[in-house]
């Protein structure tokens, strides 16, 4: 039962990792941009949620209605004001600029909120659980996983069933031709980043309810997101969910063997998969 428990908890944890990863995967797919600040933006969203929740006395899950549009708007402005200028044939400028952004976000949060760990108060949601014949499931992890599945399904729908998704895929396919077909690349990229940071907002809120956070943890979230994307295969959103789950299970099973092994086990499984299947487990079929 211990093993089954570890696997189930790991699967649910994978939902959170998939939320970390989905936005990262989306913008890489559309504009080949690797956003080093992704993890710090998740932490920024968590702090935004914390402040809004305290200021308005609202439940952390309810502040999603404010934090999601705020982060999306920030994403659009960030992309059009800064990141679009870094995109070109050279892959180095966007890496450097998002790295710089990561440093700025981290230090700004440190300045405003100090280094003390904070946590959002979800009124007992974080400790609520249901008992399923010896298996105890936390309500929050189950909810997180369900939201992750919903987010991935939603992104999948946007990508393959809407005009916006067609625009994303057309620009991703051939930027120059897309321009000649009337697509404003700068605007499409802005919308992609807005969607990415909307998902980041959801990830940040669920992170902040689940565990305590401080300004320095962004880098770790970025790594988990990256690992989930790579394990699942670039450009495949459902693969990203699977990647998150595999990473989560590796960590909880590792922790079940020895509590010190949690992170190491996750990284080892990631390296193993990278060595055996460099394109990930489920690379995009039409790639």
């Amino acid at each position: 039962m211990d093993w089954l428990n570890a696997i189930v908890q790991g699967t649910l944890l994978g939902g959170l990792y998939a939320l970390f990863a989905a936005g990262l995967s989306l913008i890489f797919g559309v504009m080949r941009l690797v956003n080093i600040a992704h993890g710090d933006l998740i932490v920024l969203a968590a702090y935004l949620g914390l402040s809004t929740s305290i200021a308005l006395g609202m439940h952390p899950l309810l502040v999603l209605v404010a934090v999601v549009p705020a982060m999306a708007g920030m994403g659009y402005v960030l992309q059009r004001g800064v990141l679009n200028r870094t995109l070109g044939d050279d892959i180095l400028p966007p890496l450097l600029v998002t790295f710089g952004l990561s440093v700025i976000v981290q230090n700004a949060l440190l300045e405003i909120y100090t280094a003390d760990p904070r946590k959002m108060d979800a009124g007992g949601l974080e400790t609520a659980s249901v008992d399923l014949g010896g298996l105890t499931l936390g309500v929050l992890p189950v909810l997180t996983f369900a939201v992750a599945v919903g987010v991935i399904a939603g992104l999948q729908w946007v990508f393959y069933r809407t005009a916006l998704g067609r625009a994303f895929r057309a620009v991703s396919d051939n930027q120059d031709i897309a321009q000649i077909m009337g697509l404003n690349k700068a605007h499409v990229f802005g919308l992609a980043m807005a969607l990415s940071l909307a998902v980041v907002a959801v990830a940040g809120i669920f992170l902040g309810i689940r565990t305590s956070f401080d300004p320095s943890i962004g880098g770790g979230r970025l790594i988990f997101g990256f690992e989930a994307v790579i394990i699942g295969g670039l450009g495949n959103l459902w693969g990203t969910l699977a990647g998150g789950v595999i990473l989560g299970v590796a960590q909880t099973v590792g922790a079940a063997i020895d509590p010190g092994w949690q992170l190491l086990a996750g990284h080892l499984v990631f390296l193993l998969i990278l060595a055996i299947r460099p394109n990930g487990l489920f690379p995009r079929m039409d790639g």
Binding site: R169, S172, D173, I180, G182, D286
Partner: protein
């Protein structure tokens, strides 16, 4: 009235000049043919007209409006569409999706209206039965048809065709000429770059000859073809022979 005016358009890449004070007009509803040797700057001229390439000097005027400062996306929404010599479909999208990008983004149609336009054009260009195939897997002929399909779904007022007849069989070429004639008859102005001269002459009202980015001849197609400049370029006759 002129749908397109090029006014002393010049562009060089270092020592290579692709447009040298290029000046000509295309009247509303006219079909203009462009010929010239390889490397004469014909495709670059299209890039200058669509806005993919910015000129060093000179102006591009579309429908009375100076569009020299506008980007490719804005110009396509004004009604300039082109096909590429080497077909460049969105290869991960289906044929229908390729058409829909043009119909929604360039032509500005939405929903059912855009779908009807695409279906109509696919029927005309003969790609209907391949509408749900991925564009990356098409044969050369079908890719050329897709180029034309996308350009037409953009509902252009000025259609730029870049060597669309090249590499086709005689029968394929004949049906393509019929399609282009229909498009022309519907009132769309056309500039057509083509090496397959008999296909070109079956459609165009006027001919421009370009070499080293310069216009070296212009006028009635048959008169231009018979002129000494063209004979020199195509047949290698010496000027004083």
């Amino acid at each position: 009235m002129a749908i397109l005016q090029l006014a002393s358009l010049s562009k060089s890449f270092g020592a290579v000049t692709v447009a040298d004070a290029l000046t000509y007009e295309v009247q509303q509803g006219q079909a203009l043919g462009v010929i010239g040797p390889n490397g004469a700057g014909k495709t670059s001229m299209f890039n200058l007209i669509t806005g993919t390439l910015a000129p060093d000097s000179g102006r591009v005027v579309f429908d009375g409006r100076d569009v020299t400062g506008l980007g490719a996306a804005a110009r396509s929404r004004l009604g300039i569409a082109r096909s590429f010599q080497v077909p460049q479909p969105f290869s991960h999208l289906t044929v229908f999706e390729n058409a829909m990008v043009a119909a929604t983004q360039a032509a500005g149609f939405w929903g059912r209206e855009a779908e009807m336009l695409c279906l109509d054009v696919l029927e005309r260009t003969g790609l209907m039965d391949k509408a749900n195939r991925r564009a990356g897997g098409l044969t050369l002929l079908d890719r050329k048809r897709l180029e034309l399909t996308r350009a037409l779904c953009a509902r252009p007022r000025l259609l730029l065709l870049d060597e669309i007849a090249g590499g086709l069989t005689e029968a394929e070429c004949q049906s393509l000429v019929e399609t282009i004639r229909d498009i022309h008859a519907s009132g769309v102005s056309i500039i057509w770059i083509e090496h397959v001269v008999h296909a070109l002459l079956a459609v165009v009202d006027r001919l421009v000859v370009i070499d080293y980015g310069r216009k070296i001849g212009e006028g009635d197609p048959r008169a231009v073809m018979a002129s000494r400049e063209v004979q020199e370029i195509y047949l290698g006759i010496e000027a004083d022979a």
